[in-house]
């Protein structure tokens, strides 16, 4: 059984409300943190090894230490709750069921960063969650954890929720800032980074919901105890949102030492594949990270068991590995069609491209059209190479990482499942009636030469 730091109280009845949350030890980290200096808290977070839980995995303490502190200029902390990466629904769970954990983490983090007004930017579709979080903020304020002169320390902090209105791109931090300023979510060119010039041109830190929640156990237990959980540079616990063809979809808190195989098949986690079907493929970290066939998912190219952590999931690079990403774990069974699944992702990125950069604006729609054509049995062999060419020309050529996020799923699908694409081209009638199936994707590891 994994150690739980964020969800350890999830089953306590009434934990959503302030009284129960406080009785169970809530807001202890604020009491502790406000007796430290902001620099000491930043140092604690650095030492904990906490990495951003939104997808990029950048060390949080380091991000905080980049924050500029010019005299007389406001600084802002913004919580990125614009969770929209397909396969990811963990932040929603935290906010819906334990909203005070996020608020507690934000108060400590706001103190550490010197932010007197902090914002939580929640995706617009999570409308009822906005109500839950606003309620919790009101409770925290009533009990003196927010407002003026918190606990007599002289620290003032207000917390506000801003609702988005439906745009995946606003999960990118500079697009989120633009949106919070009341504009279209067009990502900004970096530098300047938000740490220097962010919200209303002031120094700003943008952190994911789970990242800010993790600050609470780091302060409560100490950075040393936190960093001992996990392995290597994957410290602490990670929330995984598991979905697709599994028996027990949902949110799991893992300590990053378990294997992918255990995560999929053990009853403690996903509980295996339904209806006796076999595992075909998996996208382990949200739709933008590379899809892996079963064999490479469970075992690295070196023949080692793959583990559920940042390093092991990335082992082998993009040739034979993937990424931890946001922890959105999407499982495909033997009946699923990789071409069709990739097409839905291409359609997603086409829909969500902000349109600023031509490689992304034009390329995402082009990829969607070609994938639709192949899926409908109208593709030609040269379309597969064209797809490969388009994704290569998007990757790295856009202002923000949405271009890469759109390119990677297509690249990985062709890299590992090229025969399935070719089968669609060679069997235009058959591919409308049945799927390619499991093929050899679960055979012992064979490392293909990359295209």
């Amino acid at each position: 059984m994994s150690r739980k730091l964020l969800l350890d109280k999830e089953h306590v009845p009434g934990i959503r409300g302030y009284d129960v949350y406080r009785r169970e030890g809530g807001y202890r980290s604020v009491e502790k943190a406000l007796k430290l200096t902001p620099a000491e808290i930043v140092e604690e977070v650095k030492r904990s090894g906490l990495r951003g839980r939104g997808g990029a995995g950048f060390p949080t303490g380091m991000k905080w230490s980049f924050l500029a502190k010019p005299e007389g200029v406001a600084r802002y902390l913004v919580c990125n709750a614009d969770e929209s990466e397909p396969g990811t629904f963990k932040d929603r769970y935290l906010m819906e069921f334990i909203p005070h954990l996020l608020i507690e983490g934000m108060i400590v983090s706001s103190f550490a960063l010197g932010s007197n007004v902090s914002y939580i930017y929640i995706r617009g579709e999570y409308a009822w969650i906005t109500d839950i979080v606003e309620n919790a903020i009101a409770e925290a304020k009533q009990n003196g954890w927010l407002g003026k002169n918190i606990m007599g320390t002289g620290f003032d902090c207000e917390l506000y929720v801003q609702r988005g209105a439906g745009a995946y791109i606003c999960g990118e931090e500079t697009a989120l800032i633009e949106s919070l300023e009341g504009k279209r979510g067009n990502p900004r060119i970096k530098p300047p980074f938000p740490a220097v010039k962010g919200l209303w041109d002031c120094p700003t830190v943008v952190n994911n919901v789970e990242t800010l929640a993790a600050v609470v156990p780091i302060i409560n237990e100490g950075s040393e105890a936190y960093s001992k959980i996990g392995v290597g540079k994957s410290t602490g616990t990670k929330l995984i949102s598991a979905c697709g063809n599994i028996n027990k979809p949902g949110i799991y808190e893992i300590d990053m030492t378990i294997s992918v195989e255990e995560f999929i098949y053990s009853d403690e986690y996903c509980g295996g594949i339904p209806n006796g079907k076999q595992l075909k493929a998996c996208i382990p970290g949200g739709s933008s990270v590379p899809i892996l066939p079963a064999n490479l998912l469970l075992t690295t190219a070196k023949g080692e068991k793959r583990l559920m952590n940042y390093e092991s999931l990335a082992d082998g690079g993009f040739a034979t590995g993937s990424m931890m990403g946001s922890g959105g774990f999407i499982v495909l069974d033997e009946d699923q069609c990789v071409v069709r699944h990739t097409m839905t992702l291409a359609r997603f990125y086409h829909h969500e491209s902000c349109g600023q950069c031509s490689p992304c604006r034009e390329g995402t729609g082009w990829m969607e059209r070609i994938l639709k054509k192949i899926e409908n049995g109208k593709g030609e062999m040269k379309d597969i190479d064209l797809l490969w060419d388009i994704q290569r020309k998007i990757e790295g050529n856009t202002i923000c990482p949405l271009g890469d996020a759109a390119a990677w799923p297509v690249a990985a699908a062709i890299r590992h499942f090229r025969d399935e694409f070719e089968w669609h081209v060679l069997n235009p009638d058959d591919c409308l009636k049945r799927n390619y199936g499991l093929a050899h994707y679960a055979d012992p590891v064979y490392v293909p030469v990359t295209a």
Binding site: P86, G124, R163, A165, G166, A167, Q336, F348, C354
Partner: protein
Amino acid sequence: MIQFSDEKLNTINEIIKRYPDGKHKSALLPVLHLAQEEFGGWLDTPVMDYVATLLKIEPIEVYEVASFYSMYNLKPVGKYVFEVCQTGPCMLNGSDQIIDYIKQQLNIGIGQTTIDGLFTLKTVECLGACGYAPMMQLGKTYREHLTKDKVDAIVEECRAKAN
């Protein structure tokens, strides 16, 4: 006449206070949500112009935002909008069949509204409910683990509420 109630105007003033002086444009997204709820479920040009006047910004600043975000409707919609997710994880769990079933039951295509003005069917991209697929958004709520029976029940529920 397009005019928020005094209560809504108070809410808007409270929203504006969340931001530093002079940064009231930040209230645009929340105010557009309120406007859409208040003025018939979509944002007609006069409504957007009214919002521009309220926030003391140019109308074009409102149009460009309203057209960027997928939750703002720029055309009239039915009383109940079924927004069915069709992205990867929902597709793996049968969202295509759910969409086909809704089309057949309501006799409309994607993006269309029933003749009685009750229902609009939209397909949307990932709403963050992947573990509870297939799903749709209906107003402020999510309807998850959809089946044909559940769709029937939701249609009935909406019809009953409308009467």
